[in-house]
């Protein structure tokens, strides 16, 4: 059997991002394998460990994505295909380009992150399924293969359901699907020699980004001194929560 994880590289959630001329400036950010995609990588490796076959990483993105692809290979995947294109592509356009590569690979299972850490988009997995004409299960928390079919548990808005789905199929990940392994030193050294097939593409984005901004979340840094008059400090805290923060 063949198992594919579709991955992306994103800024570390703790990186401090800046806006430069209306664009997110990634130059001082640490870029990592998206943690939601990491569940996908772990799952394809586990599926391969259990059922044999091959685990393959597929990525679409700029040249810099290679470092995230290597991370996935260091975790244990066999090889990778990197569709290389600089600049922004909307998820639907990405899915169309990815679908072509995936069709050629003909995997049994495709996994990708349930939500992207950078743009918060949840579209990629379903869009890939749509482009391939395959079923999709979103927010997967458990996945078993049996008799050419998959049995999956996945989260709904306020609950969960267990479904049986024919293969090939696309699954998007949810936290709790598994616990991703850390790339080990031997794994990292082996990954250096694994194949990454680079395919330059030139897809035309249907969505053009005109301007980006980052929501500023700053603390007011208001500190009340409760050591001298705790009663007065408590009253002041209540007043601030009521009148300024408007939370009580």
């Amino acid at each position: 059997m063949k198992f594919v994880a579709v991955i992306r590289q994103v800024p570390d959630s703790e990186s401090r991002l800046k806006i430069d001329a209306g664009r997110v400036d990634l130059s001082s950010a640490t870029l990592i394998l998206d943690q939601m995609d990491e569940y996908a990588v772990e799952e394809v490796i586990r599926l391969q460990e259990k059922h044999g076959g091959e685990s393959v990483i597929v990525a679409l993105g700029p040249e810099r994505f290679e470092e995230a692809v290597r991370t996935a290979l260091a975790m244990g995947a066999d090889r990778a295909i990197h569709l290389v294109q600089e600049g922004y592509l909307d998820p639907i356009t990405q899915a169309e380009a990815l679908a072509e590569a995936l069709r050629a690979e003909a995997p049994d299972v495709v996994l990708t992150g349930g939500q992207q850490a950078d743009w918060d988009s949840q579209a990629l997995g379903p869009a890939i399924a749509e482009a391939l004409g395959w079923p999709v299960v979103t927010w997967t928390t458990a996945l078993e293969l049996e008799d050419g079919q998959a049995r999956a548990k996945h989260d709904l808005d306020e609950g969960a359901e267990v479904v049986r789905v024919s293969l090939p199929a696309v699954f998007t990940t949810q936290q709790g699907l598994n616990e991703p392994r850390y790339p080990t030193l031997p794994g990292i050294m082996k990954a250096k020699k694994k194949e990454i097939r680079k395919i330059p593409i030139s897809a035309a984005s249907k969505v053009e980004v005109l301007e980006q901004s980052i929501q500023e979340r700053s603390r007011l840094g208001k500190v009340l001194d409760g050591t001298k008059d705790p009663h007065a400090a408590a009253s002041e805290l209540i007043r601030l929560l009521h009148e300024e923060a408007k939370v009580i």
Partner: protein, 395 residues
């Protein structure tokens, strides 16, 4: 430019990580994530209890932290010296005790077996030391003094039939009570220093744990007593004679310490910086005060320069051009810089700084050991002084 650490990103003011290979960067990130999950949240407690987390030994083995530069055929990962340095950095960012464990296993036990051992010794011990199935320790220092290991070495290896009989006492031995094998340095009948692989369950071998330490508490330190310990001739490390055996091991370990100390420096700097930005006195954060800024800048500056030194040592080491005196410079300066930074950080934290809720005082106390072992600060000064003047102030 990275003025503080966040996520898996190390403190890196000059963007030195661009000098690392992609594998080295990956190793740094992966090591940090792993250690942030399994060690950092608990280290204060282990230190306070005075216990080493033995459950992590196998995990260190799985990650490849044990003997990382040893070739894969002997169970190592075959990584570069900079990668080894980055592992030491990440371990010591958590605690000097964790780094000490790995330094001893990798540089003081696996290295001499790899460099001076017979093929049988390498095949027998290295793979098991790499997984953590076996733990080793390194016995050079004796109760009469560590700075002059030749002059003060009383441990003797008397030739007896086919084998040797070892007698003597070793002091301050890291991992002593955890170890399955000890690399013991002793003088033979001709007064020549030889290295022996001694299984710690050999009759006559005893390890006594050193208690009441106020430094390196999350590490096991022991006295080794050898009373007529009989070992076969196959226990001798055949590839080396004389003090250069143990000294070449120390060069390996000191190289790692030059990196490791900077991990501790990052930890105390990051903690002091964050504290200085939120702690307010006289209506302003203390970080806005010149006196506090000067301390923070000195830490950052020392870290940045130290990292350049460490990186350069790694390049020289992989090129086979590294001189022990150059390692002395890195060990001496980076450890003292980290110790000074830890003292400053402790000061910036005020009263909070004396508790184990914060990391700085633990690092400060640990670094007193790091400044002392593997050649004290002053001994390295004299090694360098001798190197540049040609005049020997040591002896």
């Amino acid at each position: 430019m990275v003025t503080t650490s966040s996520g898996t990103q190390m403190l890196d003011y000059l963007g030195l990580s661009e000098l690392f290979t992609p594998e080295e960067r990956e190793i740094q990130r992966s090591s940090r994530r792993f250690l942030d999950d399994v060690a950092l949240p608990y280290i204060g407690q282990w230190w306070e209890e005075g216990s080493f987390p033995t459950h992590l030994i196998r995990r260190f083995g799985e990650m490849g932290f044990l003997g990382p530069t040893i070739p894969a055929e002997y169970g190592g990962a075959g990584v570069s010296s900079a990668a080894y340095g980055l592992i030491a950095y990440e371990l010591e960012r958590v605690d000097s005790g964790l780094r000490s464990f790995c330094s001893v296993q990798s540089s003081l036990v696996m290295y001499p077996i790899y460099a001076f051992g017979s093929e049988e010794q390498k095949r027998e011990y290295l793979p098991k030391l790499a997984t953590g199935e076996l733990v080793g320790c390194f016995g050079l220092t004796e109760p009469d003094g560590g700075s002059d290991p030749d002059g003060n070495m009383k441990t003797r290896a008397r030739k007896d039939g086919d084998g040797y009989v070892l007698t003597g006492t070793k002091m301050w031995i890291t991992n002593g009570n955890l170890a399955h094998i000890a690399i013991v340095w002793a003088k033979d009948d001709g007064g020549v220093v030889r290295g022996f692989i001694v299984p710690t369950d050999t009759p006559g071998f005893k390890a006594n744990e050193v208690r009441h330490k106020a430094s390196l508490r999350a590490s096991v330190t022991s006295e080794l007593v050898l009373e007529d310990v009989r070992v076969p001739a196959s226990a001798v490390l055949p590839g080396v004679k004389g003090l250069k055996g143990p000294l070449s091991c120390l060069t390996q370990a000191r190289f790692g310490i030059a990196w490791g100390a900077l991990g501790a420096l990052e930890a105390v700097y990051t903690e002091a910086l964050a504290f200085s930005q939120t702690r307010t006195t006289f209506g302003k954060p203390i970080g806005s005060r010149q006196l506090v800024q000067e301390k923070l800048v000195r830490m950052l500056s020392d870290h940045t320069k130290g990292l350049l030194v460490a990186w350069r040592l790694a390049q020289l080491k992989d090129a086979g051009k590294l001189r022990p005196q150059q390692v002395s410079l890195g060990k001496r300066d980076n450890v003292r810089a980290a110790l000074n930074a830890a003292r400053s950080a402790r000061e910036i934290l005020g009263g909070s700084g004396i508790t184990l809720e914060y990391h700085s005082i633990r690092h400060m106390l640990n670094l007193e050991t790091v400044d002392t072992y593997e050649g004290t600060h002053d001994i390295h000064t004299l090694i360098l002084g001798r190197d540049i003047t040609g005049l020997n102030a040591l002896e």
